[in-house]
Amino acid sequence: MKIMPCPLNGPRNISEFSCGGEVEHLPPPDCDHAQWIDYVYLENNTAGIIREWWYHTPTAYWFVAERDTRTDEILRTWPAGDFLAEFGEER
């Protein structure tokens, strides 16, 4: 079983986690329908390095992981706050 390095709990079996999808920003309120539909329904399905939300179920803890979808290798993780501080906050 794969191991996920959790920023709060350290390395754990991947079965303790669930994936919340790629990190995306809400489109601006004045976006057109097409933009909104793209946000709601379409996934990028990138073959490469992506950043995803992950949830550690026993601690109800959301964090961000950087993963290479080609190798399934987890390259880096951030606590949510650190990630947003580095890459911009949602408001």
């Binding site: 709060l8 709990n9 350290g10 754990r12 079996n13 079965s15 303790e16 550690h56 179920t57 026993p58 601690t59 803890y61």
Partner: protein, 229 residues
Amino acid sequence: MTRPETFQRRSHLYRVCREAGARWRAVNGFGAPAHYGDASGEADAAARLAIADLTALPRAGYKGWGMADWIRDQGVFLPEPNQAQRQDDGTLACRLSSGELLLLADDEEATLIDRLARAWSMDDAVCFPVPRADASARLVVTGSESAAMMAKMCGVDLRGRRFADHAIAQTSVARMNVIVLHNDRGAAPAYDLIFDSASAVYLWGCLVDAMAEFSGSIVGLDAIDALRG
């Protein structure tokens, strides 16, 4: 004779303990299993492998963005996340995350828990009480075989050399979310399990099954107190 049904507060496990032959004593508003008829034998058994229901013992929780500041203002020594620290009055302060604290008392007396409850107020609160006393059940697994037995249910290596005393693992035990606290009782290795109270009967059954191959026992609070010396 003390009977758990005469108390307003009842562990979800009182029927299971009663069937196992529990003798009761009043603890913190509960009728709690003191022993099962052989107090001294139970202490020996607990040094090898045993489980006990500690649900009656006091506990509390605080959670929120300002938890660390507020709790330090109250004079609590706050450890790092996933570590526990014994406070002056004997309470264990278990830090579950940067913003969440769980307080466990090993005795009925829980000065710190009572004091925090009086100090906290909803007005201007920066953290909030978590109803741990009712949300959670608390069991303890004690004895030299406890880590080996837990390996049948839990994917985290809990052996002392990898998981020091007062370390915390919030993980999956028998497919349930459980806070595992390494909390040795005297010389005996021991792990406190704090988890959803509604699942107490389920997890108890899993533990009883898992410890059969080690001839584990069900013991009462007296045996656990005896281990602590």
